[in-house]
Symmetry: C2
Subunit: 205 residues, 2 copies
């Protein structure tokens, strides 16, 4: 059995969507950031990084969205990774860009203390974040296939991740209507059964 | 034939080491940051992100270290990915942490303008970077196997990446001697034929 430690305002939503897509049974456990539960001794014993998602598997604990999604595909849904190595690499290129650039741009809106100590620096980062987010979404608008999925014509691990980060944009006053392909992708994903189900369960706000 | 666009002071060194490990022929092309070559129209046409590494393959262009390493393993060296899904996931957990946390901590030492506009913010980030780098290396000191490789007893894609980021620490006055397991891993990797060969070719400083 799998246990997913999640918070609906975070990227753990991408893992929840893949679990719903694969119809894999899992136990969701809310990590309540309002109570700083991600820093509780019990949670840190599970994941010393104090972040979500954390997935408990029969073999042990996994962190990092990209690793968790790859594990779920390997165990339950190899069809979510393109069979051709170059297409699989394009999927992973997208996933690494989402993890190391797009998500990091978002984090600067509210998580400045991770990288700087002065309040003036945090305000500076918060002010710049909508611009760096828009720039990284513009790159994705031009780079992906939207055929209709991010990589060619079937759902891959990149799609729910892209969907969740696109959804985050609206919260930070970045208007995704300026990116018609991303917007269409977002609408398509939003109406998938797995996404609607994840919302009903409170895994996405 | 593969063409690797690289700069020896960057994470492109990890791709060079894997190419040397696999003894795959490739053409290296230096992207000279002193001449801002990463922003030249010709380079941006290849990789609009203006970063390295960029790998030209017979099927097209790939960016992002994690995607490039996975592609090279799929095409030329499946033994560099653990066969067991959970161990493969632990390798990818390490790779995503290196990409989205450790590398990003490093980037704040010198690339503050990516995320803030004021000189005072950049100085603040530069001052904090050695602390965030040391914290993320401390996490890796406690989390990996060192048996003797990052994941169990054989080389995986995580090892050269970990090696290169450990090597970067010294440049930023982070003393890796405080992390005995990481230091031993670094010494072991440093003496591998592939790493020495990459140095001789100028792919690592």
């Amino acid at each position: 059995m799998l246990t997913l430690h999640y918070n609906p305002l975070t990227i753990s939503a991408a893992t929840a969507i893949i679990l719903e897509e694969l119809e894999v049974p899992y136990t969701p456990i809310l990590v309540d950031f309002r109570e700083n539960a991600q820093q509780s001794p019990a949670y840190l014993a599970l994941n010393p990084k104090g972040r979500v998602p954390t997935l408990q598997t029969p073999q042990g604990v996994l962190t990092e969205t990209g690793a968790i999604l790859e594990y779920l595909a390997a165990q339950h849904g190899p069809h979510l990774i393109p069979a051709a190595p170059f297409q699989a690499a394009r999927m992973r290129e997208t996933m690494y860009y989402l993890a190391s650039t797009v998500h990091v741009n978002y984090a600067h809106a509210m998580r400045g203390p991770r990288w700087a100590d002065l309040e003036s620096s945090w305000a500076d980062m918060t002010a710049k974040a909508p611009h760096t987010i828009a720039a990284s979404l513009a790159y994705l608008e031009g780079h992906l296939d939207y055929a209709p999925f991010a990589i060619a014509n079937s759902l891959t691990l990149a799609d729910p991740w892209l969907f969740v980060l696109t959804e985050f944009a609206t919260r930070l006053q970045v208007d995704i209507a300026q990116f018609p392909k991303l917007s269409a992708h977002h609408l398509m994903m939003n109406d998938r059964y797995a996404v609607r189900n994840a919302r009903v369960k409170g895994m996405i706000p």
